[in-house]
Amino acid sequence: MPETATPPQQNGGGFKLPDFDTLKKEVIDSQIWRSMFRGGVWKDTPRDRAAHIIGNVWLHLHPVKVRPRALHWTYTWGLGGISFMLFLILTVTGVLLMFYYRPTVDLAYRDMKDLEFAVTLGVLMRNMHRWAAQAMVVFVILHMVRVFLTGAYKKPREFNWGIGVILLTLTLFLSFTGYLLPWDQLAIWAVTVGTNMAGATPFLGNEGPFGALMGMRINNDVRFTLLGGTMVGENTLIRFYVLHCVAVPLITGILLIVHFWRVRKDSFSAAPIDPAEEKVDVWPNLVGREYIAAAGCLLAIMIWSILMNAPLEIVANPNVTPNPSKAPWYFVGLQELLVYFDPWIAGVVMPNLIIVGLMAIPYIDTNPKGIGFYSLKERPFANAMFLLGVAMWFILIYIGYYCRGPNFAWFNPWESWLNQKPAMPPTWNIFGPLEGAVPFTFKMAADIVGGRLGGLEPGVVPNLMPGWLGAIVLGGMGGFLMIGPKLIQKDIPGKTANLAFIGAMAVVAVLGKIFAGLPVMQGLWLVFFAWTGFYFGFLLPQRHIRQLEWPRYLFTMFLVLNTVAVPLKMGARLAFNVKYVLTFPTISLNI
């Protein structure tokens, strides 16, 4: 019989499984799908691709077409997009953590432990949240560096750069507020130090210059509002919780929308490969790449979070600080800065100057060249100063992270923390009040400079020269350095000037060695730090920005000199034990 030859039918032969394409078509053509997603049948025409972007609330922040150059990985490196993906991961994992975390002094730490050991996948969520936060700081910084190096902040994108600076600040502020929530030793001490800096704000903090004058006390200054009390406690925890989980993410989200909208409206910076090139469709060329980057980013964070646990120290003790106590790595640079400068300078003035300075960059950099591609040559001054700033930030982080051991004493990275370090040599001031201080003699000057300071009354900090003289000397030097480079009309030949300056400093070091017994190592440091100041603070501005008109020139020089002052002061402290260059203790003015 022929029947036997028919192949056996599945499911008794009545029903046939529809193949995938038919199924897809049925779903897409259904009324439900059609009501959710706009547009007709997908035929992959240019019109379809455009409609995919325009017709979708999430994608319509994109333009419909972009220049091919903007798609090259090596232009943006996807850094802004990855920052945003990390922000999304943080939002999702953060909301999940909120289901278990209760922000009170008694419960917060226990809830962290529960998340680690009692909640299914709790530890993964916590790890992802922690690592994504750290990655976001890295990627936002890298994104800023990329935008700078491609000149993408220049007209007409000045405003969006400014929004970006605020986003960077908010990213760091989110990290700071989130850091308190686990309520462990790391948390409470980082926040104690961080908020005490607010107490050192001039005028508004109880320990800041002129604070007492304004009637600031421990229970009515800015620090008090931040903490909701006089110490990091219950009120602080709930304040930081609300800031971290509601207020700051909301503001960040709003600014992100503005940021993206401006990226599009200002038209993306990438310079065309050839002026006549044709633009390509954003779907799928750009959006596809974005999806790949996002997926890779999520995968990387997940793998990292499976392999490594977020740290959790013992529960917070407001009376005893762990030794050494270190801020999270992205703030360790600031912590290290606090070793050299008074809190109101390092913790209030400098961060604000950095923020204002960054925002001002597009308005003071009038060089029209180098927009939309990496070009070190066409913008030598801007690039040198910006990279100096970034490098200094990471050198400070490196020192704070790898070179500081117990009691925040200096340990080289290869030295064991178990070896006791000899006690730090006493410090001294260059200019300061002479009353009550050790009288100045040539021998003492030689001893101080040669690092042989001993046998002084304990607690007496010697001032080498009177404060009024310091004010005159520093004021005069500052004034000359501010306007000098612009007054010298001709280009100073770079190589000759460098060699001459290094030679002069070497002579000073040798004279110091002969007459004051200056150790060789200190002589070398002297040459190095002085040269850094000379090159970045004088030679480069003289060669590159003296043509700027006065207001722009002065503001730029102000930022430049502030930047180079940092390594100079660091050198003075590290190599010569200088505490302050100039101090007026009665008004807490210490530089």
């Binding site: 001490w189 104690t192 130090v193 005490n196 800096m197 050192a200 229970n219 009515n220 008090f224 509002t225 909701g228 009390g229 006089t230 110490m231 406690g233 219950e234 009120n235 003790n317 407001p318 009376n319 005893v320 600080t321 762990p322 030794n323 050494p324 106590s325 912590q335 606090l338 070793v339 050299y340 400068f341 008074d342 809190p343 913790g347 500081r404 117990p406 009691n407 925040f408 004493a409 006690a423 730090m424 040599p425 006493p426 410090t427 304990p458 607690g459 900090v461 034990n577 505490k579 807490s588 210490n590």
Partner: protein, 144 residues
């Protein structure tokens, strides 16, 4: 209009200053004065954040809060120094700064001798000026 906006901003700002705060009392009984030997005692560090320091002239209490940014320094007997774990300030036994970024000496707290011979410490009243801090109520003279 401007007045309304300014007023609202000021009122919202005022909202962030709590009127009542619940923080632990600053006063405590540090036990019999006699129980302290010459030197720096860390007995109350963990609970009250105070060192009780007995010299051959008398006794005083020092608040264990670094005057830089508020960390708790550690005492090193061999070096005779307090050293701060946060930015490396060094102080001598009297609380004066030897090195590091701290701007002023450590604070001493008010001390009283109760009728029982106990030492009562009040951290709400502080002093750090040489001269003032070496006299009552920040110092109690005792014979060695």
């Amino acid at each position: 209009m401007a007045a309304f906006l300014g007023g609202s901003a000021a009122a919202t700002g005022r909202f962030f200053f709590p009127n009542v705060i619940y923080e632990p009392s600053q006063k405590f009984n540090a036990g019999p004065v006699k129980s302290y030997d010459v030197g720096v005692s860390t007995r109350w560090l963990n609970e009250q954040r105070v060192w009780i320091i007995r010299t051959d002239k008398g006794i005083y209490a020092m608040w264990a809060r670094c005057t830089h940014l508020g960390c708790t320094p550690s005492w090193f007997d061999d070096q005779g120094r307090f050293r701060c774990p946060c930015h490396g300030s060094n102080f001598n036994q009297g609380g004066d700064v030897i090195a590091g970024p701290a701007p002023r000496p450590l604070w001493r707290a008010k001390v009283e001798l109760a009728a029982t011979g106990d030492l009562i410490v009040d951290k709400a009243i502080l002093e750090d000026l040489p001269g003032k801090r070496d006299n009552p109520p920040f110092f109690i003279s005792l014979n060695a």
